[in-house]
Assembly symmetry: C2
Homo-oligomer: 349 residues x 2
Amino acid sequence: MAGTSTPALAAAVSNAGGLGSIGVAAMKAEAARKSIHETRALTRKPFNVNVFCHAPAKLDTARDAAWLAYLAPEFARFDATPPTALSEIYTSFVADDAMFAMLVEERPAVVSFHFGLPQQEKIDALHDAGITLLASATNLAEARAVEAAGVDAIVAQGYEAGGHRGRFEDLGDRVPTDDEQLGTLALVRLIVTHTSVPVIAAGGIMDGAGIAAVLALGAQAAQLGTAFVACPESAADAAYRERLTGANPPRTALIRAISGRPARGFVNRLYALEQTADRPDLPAYPVTYDAGKAINAAAKAKGNSDYAAQWAGQAAPLARAMPAAELVGVLRAELHETLDALRDLATTF
Amino acid sequence: MAGTSTPALAAAVSNAGGLGSIGVAAMKAEAARKSIHETRALTRKPFNVNVFCHAPAKLDTARDAAWLAYLAPEFARFDATPPTALSEIYTSFVADDAMFAMLVEERPAVVSFHFGLPQQEKIDALHDAGITLLASATNLAEARAVEAAGVDAIVAQGYEAGGHRGRFEDLGDRVPTDDEQLGTLALVRLIVTHTSVPVIAAGGIMDGAGIAAVLALGAQAAQLGTAFVACPESAADAAYRERLTGANPPRTALIRAISGRPARGFVNRLYALEQTADRPDLPAYPVTYDAGKAINAAAKAKGNSDYAAQWAGQAAPLARAMPAAELVGVLRAELHETLDALRDLATTF
């Protein structure tokens, strides 16, 4: 939830008994340090700091220019012009030594990796600093890699999940079928059965019934993202909140044309532009995001949110707008209700 | 499980306390009647009869010929030639009055619909005959249509599920992105929350933990398909069983080139042929299946199973080869174990 999480949201969740998270992947080390300090000012409880471990972008100015040319008519709709060039707008944790040094210094209770694993020596050093480590996996091969690296828990990210697919390999623009697309139910059960590391289930979980379901599958915990986006403490803007909690939320899809990697969100104009048969290849991740943010800014300046990155999981229609602490309480109550109902059910067969 | 289910498998499941099913979609009415009689000879318990409600195929001889020409080199690998023409190898229930009349006469306890709903007067007549009706849904719009038709329960078919996607609309060959692709966890929770009809969860459920999970989501029951394919009572051949229970099962994908509609199975040579950029359009469903069965027969005659329809869900690596009655007993025991563990867990937070 880089860009949507806030210190206030993370602290509220941690204070209420959950494990709050701040996403610092799009920040430089010093901004991330500030975010950690802000969160610590609001809670004395443990929280998680999430970083991205994708392969650093390979620049390709011709490809970038072709994409910008393709988007030029979209900019023109808002009396704007595309940027003249694109850049890698943030640095992967695997190449960000300042971020690594900051985390070893600050020692947040938990650090989580997405899109892969950092170098083993970084994993070991973070461990030596007393940090509990998590890493996401979207299939069994990735889960086994997480286990082999000695990471403390696997975040099993099912196909339902909002936001970026955590796949380790980004096999390029024209290979959409290599993703195993494992739904949360299948993925969690496969990973629980085939690894011996604690599993945190993610994807499509919006309420206590969903949490109970993944506990039944053998997960030790559930990770909820979309469920917290409509909380007043998140950084989501009004248009995003309105789509999340409105009467007819749009459907979600894996969209690549916003950032350069597949990420699940409400379908938007960039998704439509991605689906055309004659579009040029996308720039690398996160270079595409530079263009995505630019066209969104141009549109938003004219009151248009059709290009916004509004990440949301498949169960987004179950989102609720309430303060995060209250939501954690509701989730706990629903979980107990569900477990009570299952106990009664067990006597009937 | 048309083609894989058998009267022996259905009866064994029903006798063990489940609801066995026979898939008669690919049969004519009299063969289906015989299958019902055979099942009744093996069990006095209720069982389900599954039919397909797709739109009848639109024939297009030029398109069919182009597809056969595309497959000709594949036939040549096995010293065979493609058929000279393709046909609609079985009739949709919506157009099969003999099947409808047979079901009203035979009155199986349960009939289930896939790919949509039949005419309302057929639904009403089957109800009047005392038959409990089920229909699959892959999204909320389909679930609401099932509820509106007065069908007794919704089979929520998640993206994990093996076999044909039950989508009501088949929007043609070149529209792969219209499917909401809802994972079982998200789909079941959405349908339970937004409809008031009992829900039967399907997709990725292979053991008692999976059953407990969907009960937690509010489903009234779980439907397992892939879990029963390796039972000795199924009609699966040796190659299919070997892939299911071997050390490294292949990954699954939604394959369209076998039958003409997306169906999840182990990736095979036809899947690869479907993914090429320059392939011709596929014939209609189930006309494509005529070609798929022909190339599979040619290959199988030479000991090759690369073209076989080996339907399997995403959690196929959890399949177990044991008699169906024994499997039902194991599932029941696992379900109780899981519910017991959840009861203990509830006391810890």
